[in-house]
């Protein structure tokens, strides 16, 4: 989003309180959604739950195309449509809900840096495994991605998406990586996160922030999603404090609400 649009959105948003009928859109949960989209969607859901903002999750086959930025997920609040975690955090902040207000400038910069790390490493690794690993692409990603469409459109859209992601991977220098190198990157990222977390309950001690929501979204999804092999989940499982971090957020923000 451009700065002007962002400013405009926040101005309008500030005027209205959070409505009851706020909705979050994502691809169909059972047949369509892919690891990376599921992770991004879960991160936003975790963030909104941490803020105490109710949102109804709706699955739509065309969620990707409904989103103004083409990215999953997006929320429909009043007359506003906002997509992706970053802009959604800005949006809720304009409405007076923020998790990072208690942090000082240094901590805020650190939080942004770790969020970038997660997006650059975990999200990119998920995309790589989904679309650049031939076995995963053929067995999981392409069939699931194209499941709402009839042939031959399903083939066209799936290959178009795969081509698009591969082109992006080549542009950021991931095109030449092997699967093993990607797993290694994930391990390094997890190690950095694990060290930063230490024995604290959340990354910035007692209170969760958007970084916690983002990390939880990705790690929890990787741990719970079956892929062609379990290597990716295994890499995360070797960091026990990250596992208990995921369990803590799940118990605090997801299980209470549902029971």
């Amino acid at each position: 989003m451009s700065l002007a649009a962002e400013a405009f959105v926040s101005q309008i948003a500030a005027a209205e309180p959070w409505p009851e009928n706020a909705t979050l859109y994502q691809p169909l949960k059972e047949d369509q959604i892919l690891l990376s989209d599921c992770a991004s969607s879960l991160a936003v859901q975790a963030y909104l739950r941490m803020c105490g903002l109710p949102v109804q999750v709706v699955g739509r086959a065309n969620a990707e195309y409904m989103s103004p930025s083409g990215k999953i997920p997006f929320i429909h609040v009043g007359k506003q449509v906002v997509s992706e975690l970053g802009p959604i955090v800005q949006f809720t902040k304009a409405k007076g809900h923020s998790l990072s207000d208690g942090l000082d400038d240094v901590q805020r910069a650190e939080m942004k840096a770790y969020m970038e790390l997660v997006n650059n490493m975990l999200l990119t690794a998920e995309l790589y495994i989904q679309w650049c690993d031939n076995a995963t692409a053929a067995e999981i990603s392409r069939p699931r991605y194209s499941s709402p469409y009839s042939r031959p459109l399903s083939y066209i859209l799936a290959y178009q998406k795969q081509w698009e992601v591969r082109r992006k991977m080549n542009a950021i220098g991931w095109g030449g990586k092997t699967l093993e190198q990607v797993y290694e990157d994930v391990s390094q990222c997890c190690q950095a996160l694990s060290q930063r977390l230490g024995t604290q309950p959340y990354f910035f001690n007692k209170q969760p922030t958007e970084l916690d929501a983002l990390v939880f979204g990705h790690l929890f999804t990787i741990l719970t999603t079956p892929l062609t092999n379990t290597e990716l989940a295994e890499r995360i499982k070797s960091y026990s404090n990250l596992l208990s971090f995921c369990r803590r957020i799940e118990q605090t923000y997801f299980e209470d609400k549902s029971s």
């Binding site: 649009a5 065309n62 103004p68 009839s150 459109l153 066209i156």
Partner: protein
């Protein structure tokens, strides 16, 4: 019109050598025989012995045989000329000749009958490949259009056309192959492949279609039919970030595979300013039966009646109607629905701005009807009569129509009632300009009536251009 040369109908008396000077005359005959033959041809029956076509390059002769065979049936000279003229028109209609000249001559040679005639068609073929390019600017967009045409591709009047438009925002293309049945040009077959992009600001909608279609045209008695199959990959998107959520929900890809049939009867004397005759066109489309995501049945008709009144004025009445019936419980797509309103249908209302809407974006309807009553008269005091002034008409009109969504559980009675209530109508007067024989421009003063909340109106002067008019 090419010149039809026939020696015997020449009003001037012919004196041998005079005739030889004419460049069209390929045969020189002795003076005496000339005079004798002239008399014979005027009074007696003739036999067409040979029909030759000169100037053929890649065109296959068997195709032309069908077009010119009637000439052999001519029994006297007037008949020969008439039939040759018809044959010439038929040849030009194929669109493969730049020029066709007809030459009628007395038969020559050993087997020549005394009353024998030869008819010679001198044709000039169109080039194998023709091209065009032009640039267009408008709507904050510039584009370059490149066109290529291969007329007479395989020598039997097949036509291959390709058009490519490269714009600053969108590119589009179309490739089409046309093949007529030899001897029956109206029976033809067309294959198309295209990509087109449309922007519909009244719905804040953007649509990109990529498709293939096969089409069969044929006449049957006084009716003409079109059978068509079309497979389209449609991509819908919002035109702006501010688009309503109802339109946003329609975004994404869909595949439509549809069979359609159109029958039309047209007895009008002109497509744009008819003074008599009627037009009836019925179109039906069945989508989903041959695959694809969209499944519906769509029926649509158009009726127009024209009657000449006093002083060259014409009374014209037209009625349109249509219904979209979703099959299999699937909601219908915004791109398949009907839209109504604007300077070409129910005048006095904004372009396609009648009926269901959400946050100012018009969503179209599943059923509609519209009727119009026009009185066309020549311009007052008839300036430029017989020339430029004939391109104009003044008209007084009364339009009415309605567009709504149907709940198919309620039965036909409820539908008719729904279409009969809240009727939008308008009246007014204006000037119409004919552009060629396909399009027209209108400048009208309109008074919209029966406006419902949500409709966008255009009270006062409204300008419109289009090819299909209520």
């Amino acid at each position: 019109m090419g010149a039809v040369h026939a020696k015997s109908l020449d009003p001037l008396p012919m004196h041998g050598r005079d005739l030889g000077v004419s460049p069209d005359d390929l045969v020189e005959t002795p003076e005496l025989e000339q005079e004798a033959k002239q008399e014979i041809l005027e009074n007696k029956d003739v036999v067409v012995q040979h029909v030759n076509i000169q100037g053929l390059g890649r065109t296959k002769e068997d195709l032309l045989g069908y077009e010119i065979s009637e000439v052999f049936n001519a029994r006297n000279l007037i008949d020969v000329m008439k039939k040759a003229h018809v044959a010439r028109q038929r040849l030009l209609r194929l669109g493969i000749f730049k020029e066709v000249e007809v030459l009628i001559d007395t038969s020559e040679g050993a087997d020549a009958l005394p009353n024998g005639l030869d008819v010679i068609f001198e044709v000039t073929e169109i080039k194998r490949l023709t091209g065009s390019y032009n640039t267009m600017v408008g709507n904050n967009e510039g584009s370059m259009v490149l066109g290529l045409k291969l007329p007479n591709m395989f020598g039997r009047a097949e036509k291959l056309t390709f058009q490519f438009s490269y714009g600053t925002k969108e590119t589009s293309y179309g490739l089409s192959f046309f093949k007529p049945q030899p001897g029956h040009f109206e029976r033809n077959f067309t294959l198309n492949m295209y990509k087109v992009t449309g922007q519909f600001p009244w719905s804040s909608l953007k649509e990109t279609d990529r498709g293939v279609s096969a089409e069969l045209n044929f006449p049957l008695g006084v009716t003409s039919h079109t059978l068509k199959w079309e497979g389209v990959w449609r991509e819908l998107g919002c035109l702006a970030r501010s688009a309503s959520f109802a339109v946003r929900e329609e975004s994404g890809h869909s595949l439509k595979s549809a069979l359609s049939h159109t029958v039309s009867i047209d007895s009008r004397n002109s497509a744009i300013f008819p003074s008599r005759g009627a037009l009836l066109r019925i179109n039906q489309e069945l989508a989903g039966y041959t695959g694809g995501d969209a499944s519906f049945l769509k029926e649509d008709f158009e009726l127009q009646l024209n009657r000449r009144l006093f002083w060259d004025s014409v009374l014209s009445a037209s009625l349109w109607g249509g219904m979209l019936y979703p099959i299999g419980g699937q909601p219908t797509c915004i791109a398949d629905k009907f839209y109504l309103g604007g300077p070409t249908s129910v005048r006095g209302f904004g372009m396609y701005s009648i009926g269901p809407q959400s946050e100012g974006d018009y969503l179209g309807g599943e059923a509609y009807w519209a009727g119009g009553l026009h009185l066309y008269t020549p311009l007052p005091f008839r300036p430029g009569k017989g020339g430029f002034g004939d391109l104009f008409r003044t008209h007084f009109f009364l339009n009415a129509g309605n567009l709504c969504n149907l709940n198919y559980g309620e039965g036909p009675q409820a539908h008719l009632q729904k279409l009969a209530e809240c009727i939008r109508w308008s009246y007014g007067a204006g000037i119409v300009l004919r552009l060629g024989n396909i399009a027209r421009l209108e400048l009208n003063y309109c008074v919209p009536m029966g406006v419902q909340s949500g409709d966008r109106i255009c009270d006062g002067v409204q300008f419109g251009a289009g090819i299909r008019f209520l």
